[in-house]
């Protein structure tokens, strides 16, 4: 066997081991408890409510992330400006800190004793301990994933397409809408899907900001500590199945990605 052959075999073997390590627990979890989890959706009201709450808050967080993250992702992809590196580092920061720490930091910022929290209370908005807290926690930990993906999506679209659109009479915003957005569209949707999936599975920050009402991840932890593994498994399996939906969507999107 030549050297290339040996290298291929070693690479394949190592890759297979990693894949097995990553996939086996999830496949086992869904295989053993997935059907049970789906069945319980009919009878387990707490699980059903948690699923709906998780999907709704993750969707709200994703919408906020897309609305606020798209302009900054575009700027980072297209423009050179002072402080660009600092902004990039700040956007990556939530990905680097432990999520319970993120939860504590948010609690400091949004708690009732903080300036923001008390101002929100004055407006009749309670954040901590409500779905708003869940949205805030999800947004904090998952928005950086969207911004990073969206920035890449914009970078992949050659700026000269926009330039040509401008010379053909489009003001900047119209060139963005007619050319950049359609060309980066799949990448943006894919980034939003990744953000949504990350938001759905968030536990550490959510549990500190809002223990009740419970998201699926908090509910599975609650069942595990209160009733043991057997009660927690169907809930965990339902969470994995929920997270699989965007994963399948993502693969379908990437399969048809146009070349720019």
């Amino acid at each position: 066997m030549n050297r290339i052959g040996i290298a291929t075999v070693v690479t394949g073997l190592l890759g297979s081991l990693l894949l097995l390590f990553l996939a086996a627990p999830i496949v086992q979890l869904v295989g053993s408890s997935g059907a049970d989890g789906l069945q319980r959706l009919g009878s387990d009201l707490a699980l059903r409510d948690a699923l709906l709450l998780t999907a709704a808050t993750a969707t709200a967080a994703t919408l906020l992330g897309v609305l606020s993250g798209t302009p900054i992702a575009y700027l980072l992809a297209r423009r050179e400006f002072p402080g660009r590196a600092v902004i990039s580092a700040l956007l990556d920061l939530p990905l680097l800190i432990p999520h319970p720490v993120a939860g504590m930091a948010l609690l400091l910022l949004l708690g009732r004793d903080s300036a923001v929290g008390s101002a929100a209370l004055d407006l009749g908005l309670r954040i901590v301990g409500t779905p708003l807290g869940i949205v805030a926690a999800m947004l904090f930990v998952s928005a950086p994933l969207f911004v990073s993906g969206a920035r890449e999506a914009f970078v992949r679209v050659d700026a000269r397409y926009e330039g040509v659109a401008r010379t053909l009479g489009d003001p900047p915003w119209r060139a963005f809408r007619r050319v950049t957005l359609p060309l980066a569209g799949r990448g943006l949707v894919a980034s939003a899907v990744v953000m949504w999936a990350r938001a759905v599975s968030e536990f550490g920050a959510v549990v500190i900001l809002t223990y009740n009402p419970k998201t699926v991840s908090v509910l599975s932890y609650d069942r595990f500590t209160g009733f043991g593994l057997s009660e927690a498994l169907p809930v965990a399996a339902a969470l994995v199945l929920l997270a699989l939906v965007p994963l399948v969507l993502l693969r379908a999107l990437r399969a048809g990605e146009p070349r720019t």
Binding site: Y161, G163, V164, G169
Partner: protein, 342 residues
């Protein structure tokens, strides 16, 4: 009308600097220069896609520095076309919302009908360039910037498209600036030629002027002058010069200062004979043929004259009639006016 006065612009680490040029209304300018000399950046500067960092830019006589790209009435066609891949060929052409009859006219003139129903991804490089050209023309710009727009077309189609563009340029009174690597194209199309290198404009003027009277040795060599010699010029007082290079002394005319210089001599200015003749040429040298390089109907003959290689061009038929062959002794002659000092 396009005017740049000491213009400066940067794109990444590249800088265009001290660019001054003037293209009158309805003129056809060609920009030539080595790869990376700033030709595309120059067009993008005029279009407004690269900001002006210094100097002035006037379009149709009006300061344009702060005018938005879309308001400049400048059309830009890139070498790589940049057709919008999410739109069909027809949608690309209609992008600027031009009148249907103008679109139809252009589609007919450039014979694009067979492409209309096709996806952009299925087009060849040349077809893409044509669609991009028509897409830009459909907006009916007043100034047209072309970045090697015919480079991917086959020779036959290139000639037809070049003719059509030149005709539209005349009919519409377009001020056109075209980047090209093709010196023949530059000579055929351009009223004005500009040579860029490393972000600076080295010379501009009528194409024949650039070819015949290059500003320096770099321009001469870039424009394909076969004989560029380094040496020393010395005025003889009657408007003529002696130029010494290696073992040769050439005679030249013109206005020049004494001292180090370059002499440029185009191969087609040289007459080659088997024996000494009698004519008015001030420069006459005996030498021996080193190499004969056929180029279609033309042959380039390299002759060693006292250790200096001089290239002469003559028709392949003449070379055949003279029975030229390597090692043969020949006589080269050329007029003093054919020697350009720079």
């Amino acid at each position: 009308m396009i005017t740049l006065e000491s213009a400066r612009a940067s794109k990444g680490r590249f800088t265009l600097d001290g660019i001054s040029l003037h293209l009158a209304s309805g003129q056809y300018g060609v920009v030539i220069g080595p790869a990376g000399s700033g030709k595309t950046t120059l067009l993008e500067l005029i279009a407004g896609l690269v900001p002006l960092r210094g100097g002035r830019l006037l379009l149709e006589g009006v300061e344009a520095q702060h005018r938005p790209v879309e308001a400049r009435q400048v059309g830009l066609v890139y070498q790589h076309a940049y057709l919008f891949p999410h739109l069909s060929v027809r949608e690309n052409i209609a992008y600027a919302g031009a009148a249907a009859d103008l679109q139809q006219e252009l589609i007919a003139r450039f014979a694009l009908s067979p492409l209309l129903g096709r996806a952009v991804e299925s087009l060849s490089g040349g077809e893409r360039q044509l669609v991009a050209l028509v897409r830009t023309l459909a907006r009916r710009p007043r100034m047209l910037l072309l970045d090697e727009p015919f480079s991917a077309l086959d020779p036959g189609r290139r000639t037809r498209v070049r003719r059509e563009v030149r005709a539209l340029h005349r009919e519409w009174g377009l001020s056109t600036l075209q980047v090209t690597h093709d010196f023949t194209e530059a000579g055929l199309l351009g009223d004005v030629a500009m040579l860029l290198d490393a972000g600076r404009l080295l010379q501009s003027g009528p194409p024949t002027e650039l070819f015949r009277r290059p500003a320096n040795a770099f321009v001469a060599e870039f424009l394909g002058a076969e004989n560029v010699f380094a040496g020393t010029a010395k005025a003889l007082g009657d408007g003529t010069f002696e130029f010494v290079t290696g073992g040769l002394t050439l005679h030249a005319v013109g206005e020049f200062a004494n001292g180090p210089a370059h002499a440029v001599l185009r191969a087609e200015e040289i007459t080659l004979a088997r024996d000494q003749g009698h004519d008015s040429a001030r420069n006459r040298f005996s030498g021996r043929i080193v190499d004969i390089e056929p180029h279609g109907a033309v042959a380039r003959v390299t002759v060693d004259v006292r250790g200096v290689a001089i290239v002469a061009a003559l028709t392949a038929r003449s070379a055949q009639d003279l029975a030229l062959a390597p090692g043969l002794a020949v006589v080269l002659s050329f007029k003093a006016m054919a020697v350009h000092l720079c």
